[in-house]
Symmetry: C2
Subunit: 329 residues, 2 copies
């Protein structure tokens, strides 16, 4: 695949913000004395776990779906995802009166299948060992005239996610702060790309950093190498929402010249961050949504005397993992 | 004790709001599609769990401490509390540069003792079976020239708590809503009184309701009887933060002519509400802080086609109770 998308502009992100405003929540930017004390500086926390469907994915999904021409709406949308993207597409489609099909592996956790159905989607299950989900999705799209909604390799998805940074940096400014750094959980790099574009335009002093599981640090290594590199698929991480094979071609082309060094966290550091969020912030954060908070708490970046903006991106945590985090620290 | 306090006015609450504004968080008023669906109407949720120290008690404590004359500040403050009030007083005193003593029973959970100390207080332990905490507190106050900070029977505490309703009703109005009902967790009645006074002045159409554990429904029964009645102290509830012997004399004098009927919830309904908050709202709510949400979810009041404002008052939950709630439903 060759990227043929132009790099989005801040005007594209502002247009996305206006487009999704009637449907998405403006999530709070929290300033907690407990976090300041832990960091020895000022920390502003974007509580995107409070977004509808429990993750930032709603922003990109809504922005993409709102681009579908009226004549194509009846065909609906299709997405491959067992997680937050699928739930966001299902919720957005139902909200906008479109049918949705979410293609999920047969062995996905039953709670995720149920939840996606509860948002109004038709769930199509496939066998991840013998079937090709892309072929299944394409055939559904062709049969029904449905629009495929990719999780990150799409300019409208990227600008939708970028509204998070535009919103957070505007909130920070209203509170009198210009963040020195912005820490963003990173899988395929769509949120990172949207945040990098927004920060470049409205807060150029703010350095945006990717935060990844240490064994799925493809963006960090790609930034160091200057080209895209992949993860070893044999590795495992509890951060399921941000475990991706490699950076997207489009998203990496945006991120490579714009973001700072990549930060890495261990699963134990993520569990400690989840427990901290419960105990001190009263927020429920899922592992993949806690990577940036974990990087901050583990001291992966200098925070003393500085202002750091940290994004908690999602809260759809398995109850067993949450209980494990609570007993961990 | 005879109440000699005048009934506070909305101007007193507005003054409290201005006084605490530099130190307290403005907590978000959330509008969640999941809650609307559960209620069949519009629900606005005041996420006061996101207040500093994890509960609304900060508002009253700050407002009371900010009234202490400069010459009396060095003597500091003293409070009896093993919970949110003690933590709020400790945090506020440290913030304002005053010493604080919190008198707690020897058998209070170690985590609460640690947490109160971490906020900067000196913790004085007593034996609840052989010692009189009021005598201990008075002797400390006399020796050190410290000011006693009561948990609810105080006009500055009541007006401080009232800032929560003033803030929430102003936020609701900015979102285009006038709540038909406001559900408030109730122990001694200080928050309820502050909310009733604020609603009466700025949103007279909004009926304020107390929400209590069914075995500690002293406010509900007192409202029904027209005078204060007590709870059976042999009863038990997981809602530790709002388990009180009877309504305060001062707070009940405010509440009796101003609030609607009292709502009651069981411990199981509270556990289900805590699980709902984690799963759908991504908020951590403690049992005593979840009584109002439990009353809403259990259908204790008509919500279909109406606008209901529900307050989650605190998030300092024991990890064991949280795990129990997660496995409960």
């Amino acid at each position: 695949m060759t990227t043929t998308f132009a790099v989005p502009t801040i005007d594209d992100i502002r247009a996305a913000a206006a487009r999704i405003a009637p449907h998405a929540a403006v999530t709070p930017l929290l300033h907690s004395p407990a976090l300041d004390a832990a960091a020895g500086g000022t920390v502003l926390l974007k509580a995107e776990v409070l977004q509808h469907t429990g993750s930032f994915k709603l922003r990109g999904a809504l922005n993409r779906l709102l681009q579908i021409e009226p004549h194509a709406r009846a065909g609906g949308v299709v997405a491959f995802s067992s997680g937050n993207h699928g739930q966001a597409v299902a919720f957005s489609a139902t909200l906008l009166g479109m049918p949705s099909v979410i293609v999920m592996p047969k062995d996905a956790p039953p709670i995720k299948i149920e939840r996606t159905r509860a948002f109004g989607a038709e769930v199509v299950l496939y066998d991840r060992y013998t079937e090709d989900r892309v072929a299944i999705g394409r055939s559904i799209a062709a049969e029904r005239g449905a629009t495929v909604v990719p999780p990150f390799e799409d300019p409208y998805v990227v600008t939708g996610q970028g509204t998070l940074a535009l919103e957070a940096l505007t909130q920070a400014s209203a509170m009198g702060y210009v963040p020195d750094a912005m820490l963003v959980c990173c899988g395929g790099g769509g949120l990172l790309a949207g945040c990098a574009l927004a920060a470049e335009a409205v807060s150029p002093r703010t350095v945006v950093h990717s935060c990844e599981p240490e064994l799925f640090d493809d963006t960090a290594r790609s930034l160091e190498a200057g080209h895209r590199v992949s993860n070893d698929p044999a590795h495992r991480s509890i951060c399921d929402a941000i475990v991706t094979p490699e950076p997207g071609e489009f998203t990496f082309s945006i991120n490579q010249p714009r973001v700072g060094r990549g930060l890495r966290v261990s699963d134990d550091e993520v569990l400690r961050a989840i427990a901290f969020a419960v105990r001190e912030l009263k927020l429920v954060v899922e592992p993949g949504g806690a990577a940036a908070l974990a990087a901050l708490l583990a001291g992966r970046i200098e925070t003393a005397g500085r202002t750091t903006l940290v994004v908690t991106t999602g809260g759809n945590i398995d109850p067993g993992i949450l209980s494990r985090a609570l007993s961990f620290s």
